[in-house]
Symmetry: C2
Subunit: 344 residues, 2 copies
């Protein structure tokens, strides 16, 4: 007991070679498909490998072929942010499709930890790096990463020399408004953050676009910028609802803000969705399913971003050409119970 994993003398490529009556080279190529092999020989090798439970040691493989079969994932706070961990899951799945694995390192937003993370990834000779953020933001890639094979996830950078994948922020706005106008709303408030981030700008643009698409002139007083968090949502709702001609629906920057709007609506005796329809962004199940009534919201494609980023790292064009792709992924509207047609 307490043997090391694989203590039973691991079967190596020589064992398979012996069993199949061929050379190790042939086994290697039969398994990797790197060169043409007689079909029958190949079958014999595959069979032997299977029987012996052989699978190549990625370290030895990498040592020789200058690949590590490992992708690095450098993030700020993803591991500790609700559901953003899905980005990691997506990355893992994509890596697995290429017989690779992901080494996820979370800097927790601390610069020094990021530095160490970069060193670690370099040490482990990762084949590529996903540089990710927990929410869509503009980043500048650390210079220590220069020359590395990098894709940005849930982040974009000023210089466009890295491929990147982010949510379609404008689409989030237009989809939300489209959903609201389609059930009859015309006075629609927008609770936005008072920061300058891609998500903030994009969703506002989408809001304006959506209103325009519905032929509704934008009433600037219906757009209120507030601070992050539930508290911000409460305050913004107060401004929006505490007036004679209040909106019949509110599009919230995220679910947290929406939660604040719920609270204010409750205080004011407004019934959701009949007196006020609400739509959020994030699909934080913990919040959106807990609210009464359950919140209609737009889910961010975390899993998909992680998957796309890693897949991209494996594409030959990414390696070869200078053409970078900047992809915006669509976001899904999750219909629950906080939207209804307006009264009257």
């Amino acid at each position: 007991m307490n043997k090391k994993l694989g203590a039973s003398p691991r079967v190596g490529i020589r064992d398979v070679a012996a069993a199949a009556g061929v050379s190790p080279t042939t086994v290697s190529h039969a398994l990797s498909g790197a060169r043409a092999i007689n079909a029958e020989t190949r079958a014999r090798v595959l069979d032997a490998a299977q029987r012996l439970g052989y699978s190549p040691d990625p370290r030895a493989r990498g040592l020789r072929s200058a690949r590590s079969y490992t992708i690095g994932l450098l993030s700020d706070n993803i591991a500790t942010t609700p559901y953003a961990g899905l980005l990691i899951s997506g990355a893992q799945d994509a890596a697995a499709e290429h017989q690779s694995v992901v080494l996820a390192l979370d800097s927790n937003g601390i610069a020094e930890r990021e530095q160490r993370g970069i060193s670690t990834l370099k040490n482990y000779r990762v084949d590529g790096i996903v540089y990710a953020r927990m929410y869509h933001q503009q980043v500048s890639v650390p210079t220590e990463l220069d020359g590395a094979h990098i894709v940005l996830a849930d982040a974009s950078s000023l210089d466009l020399s890295y491929s990147s994948v982010v949510p379609n922020e404008v689409g989030i706005g237009t989809d939300a408004i489209k959903h609201l106008t389609s059930v009859g709303h015309r006075r629609i408030g927008f609770v936005n953050l008072s920061e300058s981030a891609p998500a903030v700008m994009g969703r506002e643009q989408g809001y304006r676009q959506g209103m325009q698409d519905a032929g509704i002139p934008v009433d600037e007083s219906l757009i209120v910028a507030t601070t992050a968090g539930v508290q911000g949502g409460r305050e913004a709702a107060r401004k929006l609802l505490d007036r004679p001609n209040r909106p019949s629906a509110i599009f919230c920057f995220n679910d947290e803000a929406a939660m604040g709007v719920y609270q204010t609506a409750h205080e004011m005796g407004l019934a959701i969705p009949n007196d006020l329809s609400i739509i959020g962004v994030d699909n934080l199940e913990l919040v959106s399913r807990a609210l009464v009534p359950m919140l209609t919201t737009i889910a961010l494609p975390h899993y998909e971003m992680g998957h796309w980023a890693v897949s991209r790292l494996f594409e030959p064009q990414e390696m070869a050409s200078a053409d970078r792709i900047h992809r915006q992924l669509p976001c899904e509207l999750i219909q629950r119970d906080s939207v209804a047609r307006p009264r009257s």
Copy 2:
């Protein structure tokens, strides 16, 4: 541009050896401390290594020395569960302290994915495995892992042949009750889950213990088992509060249940904390800070469990002896605004 990471011909042990005027062997030993080296020579080597920015390739190292400098972390849904990702952070930090890295694989609760994860970890020749769960539960370690070097995190198993680390569930209960009784509560409700899990049993035991410690006989009708989720909290609160002699405080199995209790209290026109004090477990910031008033709760030691588990893997005793440690970590009470002394 677009060179591979470390394309600039990486400095190897030979370069350092040349620069320091010694053999590669000496460099290796000077850096690893595996054998005695003349202090001056050693200094020269260290200096050269530093200057050249050398650090050994873990793959080559591992290939020779039968270690991979990699710890595997096999979990069910940790990456996608709010804040449980902290367990991974803790594991990473502990691994870094031992020049290692963690390969985190999330099965998403799918058996087939777990199987593949195990194969992957075996392939990568990890030095040890943390078998983790997103919440404290009883597990049986897959037989495929037999012979591996394993520690359980946020999980325990029937056979005690693996070291494990879990939250002190009983302590959670006694701490909660102690806090409540210390401000004067005597009729304290307990909203528990109707499952049979270590957390459920442990917290109830802690509740009883806490009441006993305060010299208060347990009123069985004050303990109500309900389903998981906010909805369960709402129903349980209804049972507890809709009676003449209602409790002045409620200890909730978790924050979600607490959220449900808040909602019911609101509906019934009960003011928190003055009419009803509430205490939760989990410290889901998204929930506990969002509620009005903010929720007093008990935080689970996710980070610490991850850290402990990996640290344990590196301890020689763990390797050598059959003595397994089953550790219960203390949990911190986070005081916010949902507890006050009862109305006379």
